[in-house]
């Protein structure tokens, strides 16, 4: 078995760690409330459309829902799956590459293949 090293943190490091943890917790709670807020908004928009409230047309609601969905995915990835922390460069690169490929393919179909 390889040797086990016990590493003792200095008080400064300990404080720094605690401060970071607190900050991260604050960010997560804030983002969680934001996400719940966005979800409530989305539901109420659809409810309003179904109740024929004036001003809530399909053409307003669908793009807004899409936008909210994109924001939610971003928040989920960056705050709850920790992509905003260090050491996630490669996963980010691969995810964005995949997103770009998918986007280009869909765009191609919509603009020049099935126009």
């Amino acid at each position: 078995m390889s040797d086990v090293h016990v590493y003792k943190k200095s008080p400064a490091e300990f404080n720094l760690g605690q401060r970071r943890a607190r900050k991260s917790m604050r960010g997560q709670i804030m983002m969680f409330s934001l996400m719940i807020f966005l979800t409530i908004m989305s539901f109420s928009m659809v409810m309003a459309y179904q109740a024929d409230v004036i001003g809530f047309s399909k053409y307003l609601i669908i793009p807004t829902l899409m936008l909210f969905a994109a924001v939610q995915v971003g928040l989920q990835l960056y705050y709850f799956m920790h992509m905003n922390e260090k050491g996630h460069g490669i996963p980010q690169m691969f995810m964005y590459t995949g997103v770009i490929f998918a986007f280009v393919v869909v765009l191609t179909f919509l603009t020049i293949v099935w126009w």
């Binding site: 691969f94 590459t97 191609t108 293949v113």
Partner: protein, 624 residues
């Protein structure tokens, strides 16, 4: 495998190979499996050329001819070229980055067995007499009209084999990202590692579309779905798009590792560092990106309209730029080098003009108006054989000669190697050069015979003679391999004498833990740097000798793949035979049981003791 040499019976050896998770052994398994299918595909090619030798020939019927061309293409691409390249990646890439194994040894083994069972599934169709006959692209309009179970074998067999490839690709990516030795930055990685990286990334993005397409085809044919049937509201063109969104990246997945092997060969045998290393890396990545933006150039004549054709035409031609960068860098690597013309170097030297010819006809075909003229003629056949044989197969044969000592510890005979080269090289150009003209003269591809008096007779005879020469070349190579293995003359670390990367600084074949101490990498061509500074071992260790953690072998990958293989037959005969449904369920349950066993049983691997490693180091080079 213990580090102490011992005699073992046949059963124990077989068990060792069936359960191995060692990347070097899996590399050899890939090479054997891929080599077997390469021979099968080659025999199919010989039958094609024999059938086309004379006009109005009736050696095989039209139906069987369709089956043979379909199986030739599918076998060569999916079961020969890719597995052999993945075999080299497995055997060499971890050595080049100074790792002891790939990141997920279990998945590596699973990937191999899925490829193997998928390939066997596809080829078992010959024994049922119902063989895929819709071409290797299996266009939906043909696939739906195909009677019997032929296309079902294609859909399920490729699904299983493709899953294995996807596992392999992910595994290599994680390995390269996480397991490089200290000091090996991305821009110090040997070019074969870089091309493995980019090809694996392309596998990651390109194989999911294939998986989706094959699932649609499977459900269309076996479970009553209607994705492609226009009378039911489907669309046959969707298959073509899905297939080529996968298929074009696929051909770059085939060529990039070959580029990597050639880059290694040029530096080793010109005894110079690679000219324009960073430009080479950039070009590789760019080819990878552009490979996803050009799929519709396979579909110019489908009727996408002038806008789409023009855009895809331009995108296609853009790929010639990074490829040109590579060609010039290889030429400048050779320029002024102290050149040794060994067998691998011969292949590499022949590759440049051959591949450039294939590339130029590629740009010609990428020109949409000209493509309307050349579409579905022998010109297309000539083009893709020039790039796939002139690039990938030359690369595979060069790699076989170059890495044989590293993988097996014996050196292939150089004279026989050169005989192989000349037969194959001349045979190849004899077969395919004339096919450009056959295309111009109007001979359509995928026809089982042709009429007399169209001026195609002598060209077809020349083509068939060339194929015979290629077959002779490969036969000489098989003989070479057998003789070399029987003589079994062991070689030292660096039999070529000019190795520049880490794999040449350790035993041939390496000990099962590769590096007694993880090396410290001090630059590009690290072994060369060390040797120039007087360190003859070529390695500066980055750690003291200590216990090494290694994974245990496992039989689960074999069983898991076998389950999928059984389920495939069930899916196929589900509606026709009373036992079909039961077999499908048994196969899937078998697979999930194997998965559960893997998940529930903790397997933490074992440690190689420090004393054993020191003992190995003392009898350096003494591995048997």
């Amino acid at each position: 495998m213990s580090s102490v040499a011992q005699k073992r019976g046949f059963g124990a050896t077989l068990w060792d190979w069936l359960t191995t998770v060692d990347h070097k052994k899996i590399g050899i398994l890939y090479l054997l499996g891929g080599g077997f299918f390469f021979i099968v595909g080659g025999i199919e090619a010989m039958i094609i050329r024999l059938q086309l030798l004379t006009p109005n020939n009736d050696l095989v019927s039209a139906g069987i001819f369709n089956q043979i061309i379909t199986m030739h293409g599918t076998t060569m691409i999916f079961l020969a070229a890719m597995p052999i390249l993945i075999g080299f990646m497995n055997a060499i890439m971890p050595l080049q980055i100074g790792a002891r194994d790939v990141a997920f040894p279990f998945l590596n083994s699973l990937g191999f067995w899925m490829f193997f069972f998928g390939g066997v599934f596809l080829n078992i169709s010959w024994f049922f007499g119902q063989v895929p006959d819709a071409g290797w692209t299996s266009y939906a309009s043909l696939a739906m009209a195909s009677e019997g179970h032929g296309v079902d074998f294609y859909a399920i067999g490729l699904q299983i084999a493709g899953g294995g490839t996807l596992l392999g690709g992910i595994n290599f990516l994680v390995t390269i990202i996480n397991m490089r030795a200290p000091g090996m930055t991305y821009m110090r990685m040997p070019l074969f590692t870089w091309t493995t990286f980019v090809a694996s990334a392309m596998i990651l993005f390109a194989f999911p579309p294939l998986t989706v397409g094959l699932f649609l085809l499977t459900f269309e044919r076996m479970f009553g779905a209607n994705f492609f049937d226009p009378t039911m509201g489907g669309n046959t063109i969707i298959w073509e798009h899905i297939f080529w969104i996968f298929g074009h990246p696929e051909v770059y997945i085939l060529i990039l590792p070959a580029f990597g092997i050639f880059s290694e060969i040029f530096t080793i045998f010109s005894r110079k560092r690679l000219f324009g290393y960073s430009a080479m890396v950039f070009a590789t990545v760019l080819i990878g990106f552009l490979g996803f933006m050009v799929w519709a150039h396979h579909m110019f004549t489908v009727g996408l309209g002038p806008t789409a054709n023009a855009i895809f035409s331009v995108a296609t031609m853009a790929i010639a730029i990074p490829t040109g960068v590579k060609i010039f860098n290889w030429l400048l690597t050779i320029w002024g080098g102290s050149i040794k013309v060994t067998t691998p170097m011969l292949w590499a030297l022949a590759f440049i003009p051959t591949f450039v010819m294939g590339g130029v006809t590629g740009v010609m075909l990428g020109t949409a108006p000209l493509d309307y003229q050349l579409h579905d003629t022998y010109f297309v056949v000539a083009h893709f054989h020039y790039v796939i044989v002139g690039g990938t197969v030359f690369g595979i044969l060069a790699g076989t000669h170059l890495y044989w000592p590293k993988m097996f510890g014996t050196m292939l005979n150089e004279t026989l190697g050169k005989v192989t080269f000349w037969f194959f090289f001349f045979g190849f150009h004899l077969t395919f050069l004339i096919q450009h003209w056959l295309g111009f003269w109007g001979m359509p591809r995928r026809v089982f015979t042709y009429m007399d008096g169209q001026g195609w007779n002598s060209a077809n005879v020349i083509s068939s003679v060339g194929a015979l020469l290629m077959a002779i070349g490969i036969t000489v190579m098989v003989y070479n391999i057998i003789v070399t293995s029987i003589k079994n003359v062991r070689v030292a670390n660096d039999p070529w004498g000019d190795g520049r990367t880490l794999e040449w600084a350790i035993e041939s074949p390496p000990l099962f833990y590769n590096f007694a101490q993880t090396p410290l990498v001090r630059g590009l061509d690290t072994v060369y740097i060390e040797k120039m500074e007087g360190n003859l071992s070529g390695i500066t260790p980055a750690e003291p000798v200590q216990d090494i953690h290694m994974p245990n072998g496992s039989f689960i990958p074999f069983m898991l793949s076998l389950g999928l293989f059984i389920a495939g037959f069930g899916a196929m005969f589900r509606t026709e035979e009373p036992w079909g449904m039961a077999v499908l369920v048994i196969g899937l349950v078998w697979t999930f049981a194997a998965m559960a066993m893997r998940s529930l049983k903790d397997d933490l691997g074992y440690y190689v003791k420090k004393e054993d490693i020191l003992k190995d180091m003392k009898r350096k080079g003494g591995q048997k």
